[in-house]
Symmetry: C2
Subunit: 334 residues, 2 copies
C-alpha cells in the first residue's frame, strides 16, 4: 500500500529467497571478495568486447541467484533489470538468454533498487509469485561509453569514482523460509542542483539521496534509529560527506556508525579508486552479496539501501545540461 | 492479479482519466492530425538540439494530459516514462521538470505499454491513486543516434521505417467517471529470430508481437473476437504482414478488419515513410490520441495495444549481434 507521498509498504513482506553477486579482478582485490559468488580474473570474461563481458556478468549473477533459490530459469515469472549501457543492452540481452517476461528499468545506478522495489510490489500485490531483480555495470564498458577509452590513459580528478565491474541479482518470492524480506520502498524524485561535472557524480547525487531519505522517514513516520544500517548507493567519499552535512542541515542526524555508502565499502582504500566505487553493479553487488550475507549471519537485522543515480548521458553533458539525479530506497529486514 | 503465465488482470479497472498526444510537422501532414492536442510546425520546437526538442514534446504531452485530467503536476504521484535516447534522457529530464517520484522504463518502442502496464498495476494494487505514463521519440534525434545524421542524406531500403516525432501521455487513476479503463496487460518475453538488419525492424519485431498476442489469449482464455481492434505498435507494412502470416501458421486467425498497426495508421501513404511509422512516440501518440478519442466517441469499445520494441543499440549492431525484440500488450475497454 501507498504510505505518505512516495513510499510503498509491502504488507506481505516478500522474501529475498536467494541473491548472488559476480565481480571482476578489481573487485577480487577489494574489501569483500568473500561476498561474491564468482570473481573473474579476466576483465573480458573470455568475450571479445567489454559490453559482452558485462552481459555475461549479469547472466551469471541471475543464474547463480536462481540456482541458490533452488529454481530453474523457467520458474522465474518476471525479470526486472537495468544497467548503464545505451539502450540497457546488458539487461535486454540477458533477458534474451533467460527467456522469461522482461521489464527493462532505467535509473542509472539507482536501477538496482528501482528493480527491487518494483519486483517487490509485483510479488506483494500478487501479480507474481516470484520475480528476479538485477543490475550490472562494467568498468571498461562504462569508461568507454561515458568518458574515454581506458587506453587513452586520461587523468582523473580525486572526485572521480571507479565504476564497479559486477552484477547482482535477487529472487523475490511470496513464499520462503527464514531470510531477508523486503518491507518498504521509497521512490525518488529527480533532483538537480546544477552540478554538471561528470567527474563529481557523488556531489551531484547527494541531494537526491537526502531527498529520498527524508521522504522515507516522513512517509513511514520512523526515524534513523529504526535501522541497523543506512547505505547510500555510490556517493563515494565526496558525496557521502555532503549527504551527511545536508541531513544535519535539515535537522536529521544519522549516527556515523550506521550511515555508510556501498561505494565506500566495496574496495580497499589503497586501491586507486579516487572517491570510491560507482555504477549499477556497486549497490547491486554490495546489497545482494555483502549485506544479504551479513543479514543471514545475524549481523544486521534492518537495513535501508538508498541507491543513487545520475541520469545524464554524454550527449546531455555535451549540450551543457546539468546532471539530474535520483535515489530509490528499499528497506530490508530479517 | 496474475493470470496464466505472464498476464495481469486489473480487477479495479483503473481509469485513463485523460491522455494527450503532441507531434511534429510530419505528423501534422499525417493521417490523424485531429487526434493530436498540439502539432509543432518547427521540428526543433524552438530548441537548439533535437534532443532538447524531444524533451519538450514529452513535457508538453505530460502537462497536457495533467491539464485535461483537471489536475496539477503536484497531484501526480508517480511518473513512468521511457524513450529511445541513450540513458533515456528525454524521460529523465522531463521528470526533472515534473518534480514527482519517477520510475524510468526501457523497452525501446514497447516502452509506451510497459509504462502503462506498470502504472495500471501500481494504481490497481493501491500503491498509488494516480500515475502518469508517457513515452516519446523524435525523428531527427533517433536518426542521429541510431543511423546517420539526416544531413548526410543516406539512402534507405523500403523495409526501413520513419521514426515518429511525438510524445503521448496518460493519467491513470483509481477514480474516474466514464472513460477508457485498463483491464489487463501481458508482459512480453525477449524473442530473437536472428535478424540483424536495423533497416528491417518490423520483420525482427513481428515474432515478439505474435508471442505476446498468443500469450495474451492463452492466459486470459479469450479469443480475438473479444476485441474491436488489435493494434501492434510499429511493425509497419513488412512486419505486420509477417505477424499476420505467423499467427495463421500458429492457428490463430485475427480478422483483417480488426488487426492493424500504429505505424500503418499514423501517416498517409503518399508520405515518404518507407514501411511505416516507428519509435516510442508511434504507439504512444496513436494510443493516447487516436484510439482514446475513438473510444470516447463510442467507435471502439475494447482494444488491445501490442507495443513492439527492438532492444538493440548501435553498439550491439556493430558487434554483429542480432536484434532481441519484445512486445507488451495492454487491453483497454470503455
Amino acid at each position: 500500500m501507498l504510505k505518505g507521498h512516495q513510499s510503498w509498504v509491502f504488507e506481505s513482506k516478500p522474501f529475498i529467497k536467494a541473491s548472488a553477486a559476480v565481480g571482476g579482478p578489481f573487485e577480487a582485490q577489494g574489501a569483500m571478495p568473500e561476498d561474491f559468488d564468482t570473481l573473474h580474473a579476466d576483465i573480458w570474461l573470455g568475450q571479445d568486447s567489454f559490453e559482452k563481458a558485462e552481459k555475461k556478468l549479469l547472466e551469471e549473477a541471475c543464474q547463480k541467484a536462481i540456482d541458490k533459490a533452488g529454481m530453474k530459469k523457467e520458474d522465474i515469472q518476471f525479470f526486472l533489470s537495468g544497467d548503464l549501457m545505451n539502450q540497457i543492452i546488458s539487461s535486454s540481452f540477458a533477458a534474451r538468454t533467460l527467456g522469461v517476461p522482461y521489464l527493462g528499468v532505467f535509473g542509472a545506478c539507482s536501477s538496482s533498487m528501482e528493480g527491487l522495489a518494483l519486483a517487490s510490489m509485483i510479488v506483494d500485490s500478487r501479480f507474481a509469485k516470484n520475480a528476479l531483480a538485477a543490475a550490472s555495470s562494467h568498468n571498461a564498458a562504462a569508461e568507454k561509453q561515458f568518458r574515454y577509452p581506458t587506453e587513452y590513459g586520461a587523468q582523473k580528478p580525486p572526485t572521480a569514482q571507479w565504476t564497479v565491474t559486477g552484477a547482482g541479482a535477487a529472487v523475490v518470492a511470496s513464499e520462503g523460509e527464514e531470510g531477508p524480506r523486503v518491507v518498504a520502498a521509497t521512490i525518488g524524485r529527480v533532483i538537480d542542483m546544477g552540478i554538471s561535472d561528470p567527474f563529481n557524480m557523488g556531489a551531484a547525487m547527494a541531494p537526491a539521496a537526502v531527498d529520498t531519505i527524508e521522504a522515507h522517514f516522513r512517509d513511514l513516520n520512523i526515524d534513523p534509529s529504526h535501522y541497523d544500517l543506512i547505505a547510500t548507493g555510490d556517493l563515494g567519499a565526496v558525496g557521502h560527506r555532503i549527504a551527511g552535512d545536508l541531513l544535519i542541515e535539515h535537522g536529521m542526524k544519522i549516527p556515523k556508525e550506521i550511515f555508510t555508502d556501498c561505494g565506500l565499502l566495496i574496495y580497499r582504500q589503497e586501491q586507486p579508486i579516487f572517491a570510491g566505487g560507482s555504477g549499477c553493479g556497486c549497490s547491486a553487488t554490495v546489497t545482494y552479496g555483502h549485506f544479504m550475507n551479513r543479514m543471514r549471519k545475524g549481523e544486521l537485522r534492518k537495513i535501508l539501501v538508498v541507491a543513487t543515480g545520475a541520469l545524464m548521458s554524454p550527449m546531455s553533458y555535451q549540450q551543457k545540461e546539468s546532471i539530474p539525479c535520483i535515489a530509490h530506497a528499499v528497506a530490508i529486514e530479517i
